[in-house]
Amino acid sequence: MRNTAVTTITTMWRRIDPAVLAAFGCIVLLLLLGSLYSRSFLSPEYLLQQLKVASFLGVIASGTMIVILLGHIDLSVPWVVAVGGMMATACTGWGPLGAAMAIPVGIGCGVLLGLVNGCAVALLRIPSMIATLAVNAVAQGLMVVHTGGFSPQDASSPAMRFIATGHSLFGIPNALIVWVVVGAATIFLLLRTRFGRTVYAIGNRESAAYLSGARTHLVLILAFAIAGGLSAFGGVLLAGYASKAAQAMGDPYLLPAIAAVVLGGTSILGGRGNYLGTVAGVILVTLLQSILSVMQIEEYGRHVIYGVVILAMLLVYGRGRRHSE
């Protein structure tokens, strides 16, 4: 068991990108800048609070990262997140058995939608951008019908509230523990399993992976399913945090999830990326959001800054090749 952990850590260390270091550097920079504005930016309470908020994005971004590693993109995040939250709360409304099943059901719905994404991309070869947009639209339609267009009235189950808002283990927020568990599982999946190796291979050169006898279709479908499940899990957590689900609750998470993954050094073209980078990216994005709102920068400023930061990072790390090369 120790051998596994040591091997995994050394593998991760060897792969560290300058981008990941840059991302962590930016976090430190942000905190320092923030501390010039107010001392409380460096307080442990604030930092812990930020990590808790980051956990929700972190869970969602884990799924997004796997898909981007494949060289694809998952634009169905907004409404799969909503499906996760709404289905989990709906389940709670069905009595004690329902409440116990709330979290698995929520995640399960996300996995189903992810399977649809995966089949469309792997079997029908529909560009992932379009396929996931379509699934997003259908998911939205389903949820509108389900809720009658109003905000869903169901409350979250106690379990949901516990994992999203509770504290245990020396006052560490449960949400953070959840993210750590999801993160560890993701790292293990990507670095130590056949599945993860194939994910990187597909992102690098799908034709070579196929010709080496890998079951590329299966891996693609599974990866999208996992991403769907993780997005829905994020929705479950969010619903737990707010004690209920809300219309369009997933909308604010698509762009930040992609930004976090890309800012963490994962190549948008696929095949290259370190989960530690995604962790840094998630924290960076969350801090940015928080600092902007504390500094009372208007909502519009947030949108502009997001876009500009992503573009800037991409121009440094994600450029394509010239014709002459």
């Binding site: 990187y200 690098n204 050169r205 034709s207 070579a208 992976a209 196929y210 010709l211």
Partner: protein, 512 residues
């Protein structure tokens, strides 16, 4: 009257000399044929003449004066137009649009469709392709018609010197006849033509003079018909022997069911009724010119092609292979070393270890989790077996030399202990030393009981390594050469469709 002269041109790519002291003199009103094997430097020469790449040394003279072309457009402006092998047509546009793509007739700033159509019709007529409708979409046309459009497009530019690089390789027999007539007419009109082809009977039919390239040098220049086919073939091959090949084993058990048997395999129009047998311990080669279906045959066997007909049997049992994953399965045990190691064989940014273990992951993992200790041990074993030279197993595969990269591709498959090994031109672009290591390896694998099917464009390899060679022409096996029958002459003449009895060809009368 010389239109273009190439004098002492050299071109290097990395450490490899593609062209060395190349000389060529093209005159107006004559068809000048350029012959040579793959890798002899013909394509590089053409690219230099057409302005695609600049020469490293030497000069190009146009009408006696030195010129240098910065781009294909500059060469076009000087009247030099090339019909490339790789089609430059836009699939979704119509024929007329493609012919007039670079300089369409305009009216009020917009493309004048009627004038463009007339221009296209004229060009098509000049190319002997009047039956192609100018409004047809290029993607709807078969390859043969597309090549005719490509020729028409070149003619529409009003060239003084027309270069045709294997321009008839995709044409049907009827179209080839038309193209001959067109080229002769152009010659009569005073155009200078440079014609590159493998096909001896075309050269015989068309050429006024010939230049032979071998190993990047122009080794012979002669008026057409003044050399026998044998002499030409010998000049094309040159003295290239690099060393001794490992001895062929004699122990092939032909009584047992063949390891691999193919009956009447066919696929679209690229594979036409192929039947063959491969026994354990045999090394069988696939010969013939490029593009006669060898690549497709290997892909079909490996499960990559859809819609194949015919039967494939492994150890006497009929099997249906629908994917490489199935082919790799333990009951079949097939491996394919693909053509392009950079895009089909390796994931270059990934490490040596990850590439090597990739095909064998199922055996190296339990419940989906990779056993790193087992992986490391297996990888080290292969690295030592193949003498892969790299800075450890965790460097990116892309940092290795070509030869070592190819060893990775082979090593990857050795890890699954395949029983049938298919190789698609495995030593292309590799240094001599590594080539020999590969030959030794193949012999050893055969001795251990694998059945090997091996496509190569290198005649020496086919002669040195193979127990039998199947020469493919136009999608089917035209000739089987066994043991001592495998000679350069036999290979070249079968491939060039010179007739079944090489060595009995007389010199032809010179052209008028």
């Amino acid at each position: 009257m010389s239109v273009l002269q190439v004098q002492g041109v050299c071109k290097r790519y990395g450490g490899v000399h593609a062209l060395r002291e190349a000389n060529l003199n093209v005159e107006a009103g004559r068809i000048h044929a350029v012959l040579g094997e793959n890798g002899a430097g013909k394509s590089t020469l053409i690219k230099i003449m057409a302005g695609v790449v600049p020469p490293d040394e030497g000069a190009i003279l146009l009408d006696g004066a030195p010129v240098s072309f910065a781009s294909p457009a500059a060469a076009n402006a000087a009247g030099i137009v090339c019909v490339f092998q790789e089609l430059s047509l836009i699939p979704d546009l119509c024929v007329a649009d493609n012919i007039a793509i670079s300089n369409p007739p305009q009216r009020f700033g917009l493309i004048d469709r009627r004038a463009q159509r007339r221009m296209a019709e004229q060009a098509l007529a000049r190319a002997g392709a009047e039956d192609i409708h100018p409004l047809a979409l290029v993607k709807d046309l078969p390859l043969s018609r597309r090549q005719m459009v490509e020729i028409a497009k070149a003619l529409a530019r009003g060239p003084r010197l027309l270069i045709l690089d294997e321009a008839t390789s995709a044409l049907t027999a009827a179209d080839v006849t038309k193209v001959y007539a067109v080229l002769k007419r152009l010659r009569a009109e005073g155009l200078a033509l440079v014609y590159i082809s493998h096909r001896m009977h075309e050269i015989v039919e068309l050429a006024d003079e010939c230049t032979i390239f071998c190993n990047g040098r122009s080794v012979a220049h002669y008026a057409a018909g003044t050399k026998t086919d044998n002499e030409v073939v010998e000049l094309m091959i040159g003295r290239k022997y690099d060393g001794v090949f490992p001895a062929r084993t004699a122990n092939v058990n032909r009584k047992a069911a063949p390891r691999l048997e193919v009956r009447h395999l066919a696929w679209t129009d690229r594979l036409v009724d192929i039947s063959l047998q491969l026994h354990a311990g045999e090394v069988v080669g696939l010969g013939g010119l490029d593009g006669q279906g060898q690549r497709e045959l290997l892909l079909a066997l490996f499960g990559v092609l859809r819609g194949t007909s015919g039967q494939v049997l492994v150890d006497g049992r009929p099997v249906t292979i629908t994917s490489p994953h199935r082919a790799k399965g333990s009951d079949i045990g097939m491996a394919l070393i693909p053509e392009d190691r950079k895009t089909e064989g390796l994931m270059l940014p990934m490490s040596v270890r990850e590439n090597l273990s990739f095909a064998a992951l199922e055996g190296l993992s339990r419940w989906g989790v990779i056993d790193t200790a087992a992986e490391t041990e297996a990888v080290q074993r292969i690295v030592q077996l193949l003498s892969v030279r790299s800075d450890g197993v965790d460097v990116a595969a892309g940092s290795l030399s070509g030869g070592n990269q190819q060893k990775l591709v082979i090593g990857k498959w050795l890890m699954v202990a395949p029983r049938i090994i298919l190789l698609n031109d495995p030593t292309r672009g590799i240094d001599v030393g590594t080539k020999h290591e590969v030959y030794e390896l193949l012999r050893r694998l055969a001795a251990e009981g694998a059945a090997i099917l091996f496509y190569s464009t290198d005649y020496d390899e086919l002669i040195g390594c193979c127990d039998r060679v199947l020469v493919m022409v136009e999608g089917t096996v035209k000739r089987e050469l066994v043991g001592t029958q495998i000679t350069e002459r036999a290979l070249v003449s079968s491939a060039l469709s010179l007739g079944l009895d090489p060595g009995r060809v007389e010199p032809r009368a010179a052209h008028g």
